[in-house]
Symmetry: C3
Subunit: 154 residues, 3 copies
């Protein structure tokens, strides 16, 4: 799968960022019993955070783009977790998509599809995952979306 | 346990629905390292979604019923995940119950008991699980409750 | 690691509480495939719950203290899960920190650091974990923070 992922990313014109180092008493990912759990990723693009609240000041399209950037950062952490050896990655298992949204917002699935579709594009069948998509009242630093995930790793 | 679950469901007058096929780039469940992670289930009953916000326009009793329906759909996905062979299911491990609620709502445990009690009724000791119950600002399509879960599967 | 954890707790002047017994159809923790999933813990201190909404009626400092108490209760459940034998605990894997907060709140990472820093203080390297920190509209009984977690256990 190794080269496939890298070449798919290249086809999409995506270069995975260097994942930021841990800034607190927690770590970006932890491997145990064949699963790697990755910390909630924010939609950071070249150091800029996509902020906003769905249903208020950012639309569904922009929310999808934010979710996609969360997933790109998730994949960057996954690459670090497997030491750059994609052969060690079995598959995506579960992602949780948290949408910063108003009490009336209803389009969480569309927003989080931005993350799901990216993972499927980059990883193919192995990128398909179980997921939950929920609306939250607020997110760190005002981020529009946050996505965490668990992957099978060898 | 196999026949026990089916006969308990029959005793409760519950027929598990056919789980809906995946509608996006994600899947209803994913099995890895002996755990099956099941996507967030909504309170869909015969194609009708139970919508509403606890503390605003749906009461705790109705919220419990919604949570119970989420758990019925979770069990339907679990049955699909084990190919109908309940012997493959070890136990429920963890569920997350997301309650669409106002900022003042406090009765999340009672609401999510609708899911927990159903799982314990259907699966007995094996149905007991760790859980988190939280209030969220909004849910997909305006659903009143969403529940996801992880189960031990062989 | 056994004595180390107990002596670190003693150094911090912390005595782990007796974890409360299950009050519903769910259980405080469930062990499967080498992971123990622990139910969402509330900031209960000597039977008193720390309530409030970040950004409204409780400040970040107090929120951190609440998160720390959630983590103390998490560790008390972990001790019960390993039967008091800390040698059975591999490491912390993932925590989810739910912050009861207003739509405008942004300091979730600082709040949940109260939990993360406690785990790292008590467990050292083994206490470092992946995490997600999110803002939620409400929590059970009006709690200010809720934290759940998964740990590697043998």
């Amino acid at each position: 799968m190794a080269n496939v992922i890298e070449s798919r990313l290249a086809d999409m014109g995506i270069e995975l960022p260097e994942p930021p180092p841990p800034v607190a008493a927690y770590v970006p990912y932890r491997i145990a019993v064949g699963l790697v759990h990755i910390s909630g990723q924010l939609p950071l693009v070249d150091g800029e955070l996509i902020v906003g609240k769905l249903g208020l000041d950012i639309d569904t399209e922009a929310g999808m783009a934010a979710a996609r950037h969360c997933a790109i950062n998730l994949l960057a952490q996954l690459r670090a977790a497997c030491g750059g050896d994609w052969e060690r990655v079995g598959c995506a298992v579960k992602i949780n998509g948290f949408v910063n949204s108003t009490p009336e917002f209803k389009q969480h699935p569309q927003v989080i599809n931005g993350a799901s579709e990216f993972l499927a594009s980059a990883m193919g069948e192995a990128g398909k995952h179980a997921r939950s998509a929920i609306g939250v009242s607020s997110l760190p630093l005002g981020a529009a979306v946050e996505v965490d995930g668990a992957f099978h790793i060898r």
